[in-house]
């Protein structure tokens, strides 16, 4: 490692100028497997105030084939966002919403992976992005997931998207940056 890594700096309050062109309300995945789910929620700061200037980036891979969702996409002729990638900004009320196909559980090298989405959180006030995950409440594989097992039991719920009264495919997941219900964030 001969080169010093470039430091992170905050995305700032005006990122939408540069980053909103790739914002999409839906994540595309190759194939038709997995229920289409909608995940909506809010991002709240340490005072419980909504964060109207946050950006989420979602990345999901296919843990059955243990590959990204590449499908028929080739780099040369790709006009859409890569399969499995989503970028969503919060609105003026700190709310976000996106839809995707719920990934399946998988395993590799003897490890169980419960269905999950990788999430990056960017906003003014964060000098580097936060890393978290969305899991799905009620999934049997959650009990064996190697990452959830590392999270203290009383904090696991912060990573679970919960079914809403609107239906099983309409899920709710909030991000609490601080406080009693502070979301679990990961060091990578």
């Amino acid at each position: 490692m001969s080169h010093v890594p470039t430091p992170s700096q905050t995305v700032g309050p005006f990122f939408s100028i540069g980053l909103s062109a790739l914002c999409r309300p839906g994540i595309e995945c190759a194939g038709e497997k997995g229920n289409r789910v909608t995940i909506r929620g809010r991002i709240l700061d340490g005072d419980g105030e909504p964060v109207p200037d946050a950006l989420l980036e979602i990345w999901q891979v296919d843990h059955v084939s243990n590959e990204p969702y590449q499908g028929e996409q080739t780099i040369e002729r790709r006009k859409t966002l890569p399969f499995g990638f989503g970028r969503i900004a919060t609105n003026e009320c700190g709310e976000f919403q996106f839809s995707t196909r719920k990934p399946a559980a998988g395993q590799k090298d003897g490890m169980i992976y419960a269905p999950h989405l990788a999430v990056l959180v960017l906003m003014r006030g964060l000098l580097r992005h936060l890393v978290t995950r969305i899991y799905f409440a009620g999934e049997a594989a959650n009990e064996q997931d190697m990452v959830l097992k590392l999270v203290p039991a009383e904090r696991r719920e912060t990573l679970l998207a919960m079914p809403s009264p609107d239906g099983d495919n309409d899920l709710r997941w909030d991000i609490h940056l601080q406080g009693d219900r502070e979301t679990v964030f990961f060091e990578v």
Binding site: V4, P5, V11, F14, G18, V61, A118, L127, R128, F185
Partner: protein, 234 residues
């Protein structure tokens, strides 16, 4: 599919802590509980790869998005995208955004009393080439005031967003200009503990890419988190 890379740990001090009280907005937004160390799974070791058709050649020229030309000092920003081992990162998406020459962003929340420039949007994007090189044409952004502390001014900067080989090498940063007196007072720039890493955020004046009768050159090489030289412990 080729085996995705195994990433090492970033050297201590090269990245900011989440809480940096001098930067006021971090106080209510930085996590307060210890982070949980995440083993690197496929979800982290892979990441989106953007297609060549998503980016047009003209997207890298921020001065050519309108019929008229923007006001300000024309600049060429170029450099290489490398990993920590010095290997070029090819085909990587770089997105940039910035204020205009007067220090005003084209954003509804920017209340700075400086004029908008009808010929300047302030954003661009490109993919790195086979040697990891990139180039943007723009105008030098102005400094602007902000509410962090009394008489606070951000040094002139260009925001960069970069996707590397995996989610673990995702980087959002800011590029500064050499000799800017405001750098000494800026809590965002000064949040980096490691002096050498911090100075890596400042571009260098670049004679080689200075275009006669056209634009001044600035060089900004970017180093992403790289493959680990030694296999990661299980």
């Amino acid at each position: 599919m080729a085996e995705p890379p195994i990433f090492g740990k970033l050297a201590d001090g090269t990245q900011p802590h989440y809480l940096h009280p001098e930067y006021r907005s971090s106080v209510k937004r930085a996590p307060t509980r210890p982070l949980i160390v995440l083993p690197h799974t496929l979800s982290e070791r892979t990441g989106p790869v953007f297609g060549q058709d998503m980016v047009r050649e003209s997207d890298r020229d921020l001065t050519a998005q309108h019929t008229g030309e923007p006001l300000g000092e024309r600049i060429v920003i170029s450099g290489r995208l490398l990993d920590e081992g010095g290997k070029p990162v090819r085909g990587a998406l770089i997105e940039v955004w910035q204020a205009n020459a007067a220090g005003r962003y084209k954003h509804k929340m920017d209340q700075h009393r400086a004029p908008l420039d009808p010929n300047f949007n302030g954003f661009g994007r490109t993919l790195t080439d086979a040697e990891g090189r990139y180039k943007f044409i723009s105008i030098k952004p102005g400094a602007y005031p902000w509410g962090n502390h009394a008489n606070a001014w951000r040094p002139a900067h260009v925001h960069f967003s970069i996707f590397g080989a995996g989610l673990l090498s995702r980087l959002v940063t800011q590029m500064y200009f050499p000799g800017d007196p405001l750098l000494a007072y800026d809590p965002i720039y000064n949040c980096i503990p490691d002096e050498k890493a911090k100075q890596g955020l400042i571009s260098m004046f670049d004679w080689e890419n200075t275009s006669p009768e056209f634009a001044l050159g600035y060089r900004f090489d970017i180093v992403l988190r790289g493959r680990d030289a030694t296999p990661m412990e299980k």
